[in-house]
């Protein structure tokens, strides 16, 4: 045990001190913070000035209704639109248009609406502007004009309606998600949580797996292995390495989790103090899901890390290792590809079957749990099967590791390579 501990410690300390680790650990939260700041800045500058618009109403009954409808407020409390001028059935339409065109070009005016006389029959309303790509503005205008025209039509059909907007307002569909214990409003956070967790799991499994592989490979190429193996058993070295790299992974997770907590706590406060209605998604992750996340990360890590470690032990250089690691990463990539399929129907027979295959379990079962908690027997069975598979892979990997060590330092002849293959 003492030797395993020493190996874990060495692995951990030397790894945590590398530039790569510091960069990876700090970069992710920094990027998140940077994105957050950028989004606040964007929110603050979002169409930050009131648009000056004019209305040319050839119909005659719409200018007032449209003006009333353009009542949206900007984030800073100012109105989004100011109707600077309305012309109802002017003597010369061309003259007005020409005048306003000049005003738009010079910037005095941001745009003008032209309402055709037979708008009620469906002739489109025109909006003339320099910036035709501001979708928020066009969406607003579209809604306001539509409501005004609906009001007009209602009036023409005899209904006296004052508050058209009130009447034509649609009804939202509120999605409620029923879980084991309660019901919660669903605004897409399940999807976001599922995506993020799967992404993190996939990335870190590959990342730490490759780390373990490199680490074993490095001991082979630098020939440190023979010195180590004269002092500790291959099993100690293997276990120490996997646990050591795993501990490094946990440290990284911890830093990320803490910074995520800080960002969400203080970020909201910062946004509030800047009077920005920053749309921070209020994501609630149930603690049970977090626990499952840790469980499946651990299972997946041990399963894949010992796989990757054996690749490192079997290969004798980086090039070989890259080719050999392909079959190991394949099940991970596959589970990641299955993502959408599983989410569409997390309890289909295929989803259940796939999520019980140990190599897919870590990602797919977590995905299913985050979407819709499967029956506990499935979770239990998946954990059991993955544990069994891990034991099997560790046993196999220890053999390959052992053989890799045996082959180490020898000029491998064809005979030796054949023997090696037979071993593995």
């Amino acid at each position: 045990m003492r030797k395993i501990w020493l190996i874990i410690k060495r692995e951990y300390v030397t790894r945590v001190r590398t530039k790569g680790f510091v960069i990876a650990t700090v970069a992710l939260p920094s990027l998140t913070v940077a994105l957050f700041i950028v989004s606040i800045l964007i929110a603050m500058h979002e169409v930050d000035h009131t648009l000056n618009v004019a209305i040319l109403d050839n119909n005659g009954d719409l200018a007032a209704a449209i003006k009333r409808g353009l009542d949206r407020k900007l984030a800073n409390g100012q109105p989004a639109f100011r109707v600077v001028e309305s012309q109802v059935r002017p003597a010369s339409e061309e003259l007005v248009r020409g005048e306003w065109r000049v005003a738009v070009r010079s910037g005095q005016l941001d745009g003008y609406l032209v309402v055709p006389p037979d708008v009620a029959a469906g002739t489109p309303v025109e909006f003339h502007t320099k910036n035709a790509a501001n979708f928020a503005v066009t969406e607003d205008l579209d809604r306001v004009v539509t409501n005004a025209v609906i009001g007009l039509r209602l009036n023409q059909s005899g209904a006296r309606v004052d508050k058209v907007a009130e009447i034509v307002r649609g009804v939202d569909l509120k999605l409620m998600r029923i879980t084991e214990h309660d019901e919660k409003e669903e605004k897409g956070q399940t999807f976001i949580v599922a995506v993020s967790m799967t992404m993190i799991l996939y990335t870190t499994l590959v990342m730490y797996g490759v780390s373990t592989m490199r680490s074993v490979l490095e001991e082979k190429t630098t020939r440190t292995m023979e010195v180590l193996i004269s002092a500790a058993r291959p099993f100690h070295l293997m276990a120490g390495k996997i646990l050591g790299v795993g501990a490094v992974g946990f440290t990284q997770y911890l830093v990320w989790a803490l910074s995520a907590a800080l960002i969400t706590t203080y970020g909201a406060a910062v946004a509030a103090s800047l009077k920005v209605h920053a749309s921070l998604p209020q994501i609630y992750i149930p603690s049970s899901l977090l626990i499952y996340f840790v469980v499946y990360f651990l299972l997946g890590y041990f399963l894949y890390a010992s796989f990757f470690a054996s690749v490192g032990a079997a290969a004798s250089n980086e090039h070989d290792a890259q080719q050999l690691q392909w079959p190991v990463t394949l099940p991970l990539i596959f589970s990641f590809i299955m993502f959408n399929f599983i989410l569409r129907d997390p309890n289909s027979d295929t989803a259940v079957g796939l999520s019980l295959v140990p190599f897919f379990t870590p990602i797919l079962m977590l995905l299913r749990i985050s979407a819709e908690t499967p029956p506990f027997w499935q979770i239990g069975l998946s954990i059991l099967l993955t544990l069994l598979a891990t034991v099997g892979v560790v046993y196999l990997s220890a053999r390959i590791y052992r053989v890799g060590v045996l082959m180490y330092g020898k000029r491998p002849s064809v005979v030796e390579l054949w023997r090696w293959l037979r071993y593995s």
Binding site: R223, T224, V227, S230, R233, V415, R419
Partner: protein
Amino acid sequence: MTATTDAAVLERVTKRYDSLTAVGHLSLRIRQGALFGLLGPNGAGKTTTLRMLMRILIPDEGSIQVLGEPLSEQAQDRIGYLPEERGLYPRMQVRKLLVFLGALKGLPESEANRRARDWLERLQLADWSEKKVIDLSKGMQQKVQFIAAVIHRPPLLILDEPFTGLDPINAVVLKDIMLELREQGSTIILSTHRMEQVEMMCDSICLINQGQNVLQGELQVIKKSYGKNTVRIECSDDGAFLKQVPTLIQSVNHFGAVIEAKLHPGSDPQEVLKAAVEGGVRVTRFELMEPSLNDIFIERVSDAHA
């Protein structure tokens, strides 16, 4: 443990790599306190034998006892090992690496740290102790590797080609330390090609060839058994006169300034000298001596191949 206990005993140890038998039924006894030379041509099975002693390889047949007990993890901790292929973590600080390797061999870390400092001081590496291994020269790395082998004061020290890459000064430093460790009671197994080193340092040897024990015993006894059958001559001639007495001479070895001639059994060296004088050669040195280990080595190995 009595003084007569063997530090290592190999009984009919065999290691095969498929059809190739690297070591075949090799039996060895290495007396405690010996400075034992394991000799043999390239590919003779020296490194395989040492790796089996180190429990890096498991023998297919036979048994190995080390320090009075069968090989085990505990026994492994009492052996120091300098592998033929050097291996140190390139990006670790020298001192920290030594502390790690010392601790792995069972030393408390504080003690390992103290000893690492002492050794680095002694081998003139103190200035390099906080540097990374990769920044050190080959020779320095070699010394660090040596410290790693001896830091836990092992009763049995296995050194596979310890002098490669060292300049003469450092080679002497290492040799002195090895002799000193033997004084303190360590048994040292030394594998090398350099016969003159073995000749000067080792008290007993084993010569293996193609995985077989060809010759084993106390160096002095072995040399005596060959008798004084070699003459070393320094003279004004290139040794052409030796061709006049083919009945006396078995083989001639020219070293430039010196000629070594091996006599047929029963030949009288006096006759060789006579031939020289009669041939008008001025002899400045004429010495009757035991064969060098080098000669014995070459003879034994070429016999085996013949």
